[in-house]
């Protein structure tokens, strides 16, 4: 189908954005990259009365690297994918970008758009949970900051109000010396992932001082496997420990069955990917292979 009729507004600067949304009450949607929204409109699963296009708001396109990575809302996945500083500091982000759709999708799709869309099978919400991200939001009531865990409420549902727009996404970089990895299984390259795992480990004296583990595609929101993380802290990774950690991660997740995979299958995949992600992150931290 073709999308239903809508009004179209393209504000030229950030100050115009919220007033543009408010003109239409609750009926307007923000158009960022459009790579999730426009397919929904083509199926007429979404029929907003108006679109507020952020495409001209250049002040939302930026990346500020550092111990906290600050990403302007309209930064594309491709810009993150090509950022060499991010590749050096937190390769899990670069690895994850390669799984976001396809090149043409990544050229238009945005970081904040993915966060606001809140698909639990998408990479950015999972990365946000792994790295204790927060988002700055502007809206009719003013600005506020929302932690990732308070942003993602359920499948395709966030705590954003209809007149609120994400302006910045901030991710806490793991301390220097950490190893990070992102693994995803999909049937074909670029398909929506069945299951994905983001892992960050910080070693100290051959033991894990800090662990972050978040899973994708295993519930209505991305899951931080806090129980699994606490099993890792203070320990040296071994095959036996990884079995326990994978089992703990399985306790934390609630995958559903659908045409792409059964619950049982997703749990099996989660087990394998959790172990592999920990091994990869440990190796990246310069700590060598996980022992037997």
């Amino acid at each position: 189908m073709k999308p239903a009729r809508f009004e179209y507004v393209a504000p030229e600067c950030l100050e115009e954005v919220v007033p543009s949304l408010q003109r239409f009450g609750d009926e307007a949607k923000v158009l960022a990259g459009g790579q999730s929204l426009v397919p929904l409109m083509a199926f007429r699963l979404a029929t907003p009365t108006a679109l507020v296009d952020l495409g001209h708001v250049e002040e939302l396109r930026y990346v500020t690297e550092g111990d906290v990575l600050a990403i302007g809302a309209m930064t594309t996945h491709r810009a993150i994918e090509h950022n060499e500083i991010i590749r050096g500091r937190c390769p899990m982000l670069t690895e994850a970008m390669a799984h976001v759709g396809h090149v043409a999708i990544r050229n238009r799709g945005t970081v904040a758009g993915s966060m606001a869309h809140a698909d639990p099978a998408a990479e950015w919400p999972t990365l946000a949970m792994a790295l204790d991200a927060e988002v700055d939001v502007i809206g009719g009531e003013g600005s506020r900051t929302i932690q990732a865990k308070d942003l993602f409420l359920s499948y395709l549902t966030t705590s954003l109000e209809p007149d609120e727009v994400i302006s910045e996404v901030r991710l806490r970089m793991p301390p220097r010396g950490s190893g990070t990895a992102f693994l995803e299984l999909s049937r074909r390259h670029g398909d929506f992932g069945l299951v994905g795992v983001a892992c960050a480990l910080t070693p100290s004296d051959g033991k894990i001082e800090m662990a972050r583990l978040a899973l994708m595609g295993v519930g209505s929101v991305p899951i931080r496997a806090a129980g699994a993380e606490s099993l890792l802290v203070g320990r040296h990774p071994s095959d036996e420990l990884l079995e326990d950690v994978a089992a703990a991660a399985n306790e934390a997740i609630e995958p559903s069955s659908d045409v792409h995979g059964s619950e049982h299958f997703r749990r099996s995949v989660a087990t394998v990917l959790v172990k592999r992600a920990i091994e990869a992150a440990w190796k990246r931290a310069g700590e060598g292979d996980v022992s037997g």
Binding site: R5, G34, T49, A104
Partner: protein, 165 residues
């Protein structure tokens, strides 16, 4: 609501104008308003790649863009590849020689994606080619000859390729 408006943009090096409602996709605008029917509609929801064009030198899904979003932008479609009526672009020539097409429906999308690929990676390995082009689906060829065409095109355009920004 959402009345038609006039849009001005550059397509294949020339300034063009057309009218469209906001809801008209860039793909439909190219085909219906500009009569550039080389850009094809496959799935119309972003997964097949048949609608791929270049906007500001980057590949995009024209079915997921509204024409109004292309205002003042620089587009390249498949019609803009060949340097003249008599001569094919090296990528087109390679696809022809290596039988990288059968029905040709997916081909324009592939050509635009390959153009971007070779601008970024003038010497791609086979698995890089397959990964890069994973967003373009072909029902006819089984992809083998497409990969061979890309390799041939890469060989011929290496050295002449413009580095991507």
């Amino acid at each position: 609501m959402g009345e038609s408006r006039e849009i001005t943009l550059r397509v294949n090096g020339r300034e063009v104008r057309g009218t469209a409602e906001p809801r008209m996709t860039l793909a439909d605008f190219l085909r219906d308003r500009l009569r550039l029917t080389g850009t094809h509609l496959g799935c119309e929801h972003g997964v097949c790649g048949a609608c791929t064009v270049l906007m500001d030198r980057r590949s995009v899904r024209s079915c997921l863009l509204f024409a109004v979003q292309a205002e003042n932008r620089e587009l390249t479609t498949v019609e803009g590849l060949a340097p003249s009526e008599e001569e094919l672009h090296p990528i087109q020539q390679a696809f022809s020689e290596k039988h990288g097409l059968q029905c040709g429906f997916c081909t324009p999308g592939f050509l635009m994606a390959v153009h971007e690929l070779l601008s970024e990676k003038p010497d791609p390995a086979e698995d890089e080619i397959r990964q890069y082009l994973s967003g373009n689906l072909c029902r006819c060829t089984g992809y083998q000859n497409i990969v061979a065409a890309v390799q041939l095109a890469a060989e011929r355009t290496r050295g002449a390729a413009v580095p991507h920004d």
